[in-house]
């Protein structure tokens, strides 16, 4: 089977990294070619690569020649030139994020398709939501992230697709019924590490030197966004003098200047200014060094916008106890491999978990977390799930073709989105094809 894998190959794309882990195994099953938006500094890939500048009719025509197109999509600019292809030519969509609001909006702006998007949002979510989409981020960061959770626009992305691959059961339940094909849950591999650079050792010494021996290092890995609840983490540490005196909180990742200032001000306010750091971007080698030194990790996402957390998997793989909010895909992690805290329980519950870690009551948790990741995450396992999803996608194609044809005919009479008519057609289709 000839398959076009449409994915970013940008060196900075973590999604490219995990997808390439599956590549050797996908190639065993498929006659595979990669189609990627052109970028400066593309990753190497062990398959024919076609870099394209624009998602235009020429690319579409080429993709139509394959038995199946597989689109890799996440809520980042790396996917801006993939989304239009996924919407134009039905294929299998691998969704990395539960919210694709930013991607969809930017794509609509770039392609002058905002009117259609606004109409879609108004119909599916409401007029206020449509106004926000039309005007852009007229909300502060926290409210915008909440908006993204409430208006994820995944429906816009996977509408008409042949099937969807997601990375958690939680995400699968969210998108179930929005694709014409099946939803497959695939276990996401952990991003790989590149080798150490010359200046990594110096950088690591500089950072880790700030944490005296005997003190506890609590880290949270990934972009420093308001939905990472680092402020709650600080509150938890500050609330208990025994923690405040020996716990250092590090946010390991890039931060928007405004977010960084807010967090530093908060740390100062709660008396942790000298124990809180935002590292900014760090190399893989430095990250490894930090995780090796860390005593605990935290992944307190609320709202949850991603379909799976590479960040939490990375921390688990490091063999440290990780505190997560007991919700979304985090709730699916084994109870004996992470520490789950109800989001509503807030700082007191997090402080209690940290005390337990400090008191050594979670001995073995990190090892179990590492074992869980090693046992469940691999390129081959990921590829197997994608191959199975590909077979399901091909099986769904007749239904999709029929749906497109029926929809096109209904549109001739302005009935393509008529609730009553579409409802009846769906009822009949389910009955005819035993889809219920």
């Amino acid at each position: 089977m000839r398959v076009a894998l449409v994915m970013p190959l940008a060196s900075a794309s973590a999604i490219a990294d995990v997808t390439l882990q599956a590549l050797p195994y996908l190639k065993r099953a498929w006659d595979l070619e990669i189609w990627c938006p052109s970028e400066v500094g593309l990753r190497d890939a062990a398959a024919p690569v076609h870099a394209y500048h624009e998602a235009d009719s020429e690319v579409l025509a080429a993709l139509e020649g394959f038995d199946l197109a597989v689109y890799v999509l996440g809520d980042s600019p790396w996917h801006g030139r993939i989304l239009p292809l996924a919407r134009a030519l039905p294929g299998l969509v691998i969704l990395h994020d539960a919210s694709l609001t930013g991607l969809v909006r930017h794509s609509a702006v770039d392609r002058n398709e905002m009117a259609g998007l606004v109409e879609h949002v108004a119909a599916m979510y409401g007029s206020w939501q449509a106004a926000v989409i039309a005007s852009g981020r007229d909300l502060d960061r926290a409210r915008w992230l909440q908006f993204c959770a409430e208006v994820p626009l995944d429906d816009y992305v996977i509408e008409g697709s042949l099937g969807v691959v997601v990375h958690s059961r939680w995400h699968a339940e969210r998108v179930d019924g929005r694709t014409l094909g099946s939803v497959t849950v695939a276990d996401l591999p952990v991003p790989t590490r590149s080798g150490a650079a010359i200046d990594d050792a110096a950088r690591m010494r500089e950072l880790l030197g700030a944490v005296p021996d005997g003190d506890l290092l609590l880290v949270t890995v990934g972009s420093v966004n308001p939905n990472r609840h680092i402020d709650v983490l600080l509150d938890a540490v500050a609330s208990d003098p025994s923690l405040a005196s020996r716990v250092h909180v590090w946010a390991v990742g890039l931060a928007e200047p405004g977010d960084a200032e807010d967090l530093r001000a908060h740390a100062e306010q709660v008396g942790l200014a000298d124990r809180f750091a935002i590292t900014g971007w760090v190399s893989d080698a430095v990250l490894d060094g930090i995780l090796a030194r860390a005593d605990a990790g935290a992944a307190l996402r609320n709202p949850v916008l991603e379909g799976q957390s590479a960040s939490v998997l990375t921390q688990m793989l490091a063999g440290i106890p990780v505190i997560v909010y007991d919700q979304a895909h985090y709730a699916e992690l084994p109870d004996d491999a992470v520490i789950k805290v109800a989001p509503a329980a807030g700082a007191p519950a997090i402080a209690a978990a940290l005390r337990d870690i400090a008191d050594g009551q979670h001995a073995g948790l990190g090892a179990r977390a590492r074992e869980h990741v090693l046992a469940t995450r691999s390129g081959q396992r990921y590829a197997d799930a994608i191959i199975e999803a590909g077979e399901r996608a091909l099986a769904a194609r007749p239904h999709v073709t029929m749906t497109y044809r029926v929809a096109a005919r209904l549109r001739r009479l302005g009935l393509g989105d008529d609730e009553g008519i579409v409802g009846r057609v769906v009822d009949h289709t389910f009955e005819l094809y035993d889809l219920a």
Binding site: R409, L410, L413, L415, E419, R424
Partner: protein, 341 residues
């Protein structure tokens, strides 16, 4: 041309629209075209009606040069060369109760879909004709589109004749609530003595007939109302029309000009109709070709009295009615020319 005439179908119900479609096919063939009739059911429940709209929308008509659409939902069938000769829309969608569906009846999804589909079909049609000014006016009001009035010729080529008026007024047509023969029967309570009312036509339902029978019994007008509750042959109809003093036809908001009025006019007889009868006013001009009465028994009785008791006036009205009917140019030649150009 290969022409497909699209009409709706209610199994085992046959009325004016069916006769019209059959005759249209015949006339198209006479004019040298190949013509076929396609009939689509509408159904009764909201689900059936939504399915009917969907079925029409999904149809792909092949090997056809032109579609002539007559009734909902058949005129929705998409084709690049459609001419709609609108008999009527789904009036339940557009009219207020009791004709229209009231709120909470479960038909609102049908109404929404029908409006949208109508709009698309009317604007996409190559040409839009309406069978009467009433229908054209309605489609202009409800859908904002202009339809050319192209009135329907009679279904059959009849040999109308005129005989001296006898002592009866005739009420022809299917017995139904919509045709309101009951109102004419009720009027006989108030009519002056000396003439009868002959009500002739097949009942639409047992209840329609029972209502009339109950009224006759209650009013004690059995000796003045002759009821012929069955299908009346063309010969019988022409005979009744030729001998009557006048014809009374009181439908509620009729879409067409009313074949009954046309046939009366061609028999040189005046017609009595009601002010709310709609399309019949095309032929019944008050005190010129007949009498337009208020839709109450007393007014209808007065109108019948006037025409029966003043035969000379009725005769002159009948002559003018015939001129009016002829002036409508209800020829199939014209209809076929318009629908196939």
């Amino acid at each position: 041309m290969k022409i497909l005439v699209a009409n709706n179908v209610a199994p085992f119900v046959r009325g004016g629209a069916e006769l019209l479609a059959d005759r249209l096919i015949l006339e198209l063939r006479k004019a040298g075209h190949e013509a076929e009739l396609l009939r689509l059911p509408l159904g009764r429940t909201p689900e059936q009606m939504l399915d009917a709209i969907t079925a029409a929308a999904l149809l792909d008509v092949v090997n056809v040069d032109r579609v002539i659409g007559l009734k909902f939902p058949a005129y929705l069938i998409p084709h690049p060369n459609t001419v709609i000769w609108l008999v009527h829309q789904l009036r339940q969608v557009y009219d207020p109760p009791p004709v229209g569906w009231g709120p909470g009846t479960g038909f609102s999804p049908v109404a929404t879909a029908a409006r949208r589909a109508d709009q698309a079909a009317f604007t996409q049609a190559r040409r839009l004709y309406a069978i009467s000014p009433m229908v054209a006016d309605r489609v202009r009001r409800t859908n904002g589109v202009n339809a050319t009035v192209l009135m329907t010729p009679p279904h059959a080529d009849q040999q109308f004749r005129t005989a001296p008026p006898e002592d009866f007024v005739v009420a022809l047509g299917r017995l139904s609530a919509g045709k309101r023969q009951l109102l004419a029967v009720q009027a006989m309570r108030h009519a002056r003595p000396g003439y009868r009312l002959v009500v002739a036509g097949a009942p639409d339902s047992p209840e329609a007939l029972a209502q009339i029978e109950r009224e006759i019994e209650a009013a004690g007008t059995g000796d003045r109302v002759e009821l012929i509750p069955r299908f009346v042959s063309e010969d019988e109809k022409l005979d009744l029309l030729s001998r009557c003093a006048a014809s009374v036809y009181l439908p509620v908001d009729e879409d067409s000009y009313g074949y009954v009025c046309y046939e009366a006019a061609m028999s040189r007889k005046p017609s009595i109709t009601a002010s709310d009868s709609g399309g019949t006013l095309t032929l019944v001009h008050h005190l010129h070709t007949g009498i337009v009465a208020a839709p109450d028994p007393e007014s209808v009785a007065r109108a019948m009295d006037d025409l029966v008791l003043h035969p000379e006036v009725a005769r002159e009205m009948g002559q003018r009615a015939e001129q009016c009917a002829v002036g409508l140019d209800l020829s199939w030649h014209r209809v076929i020319r318009e629908l196939t150009r």
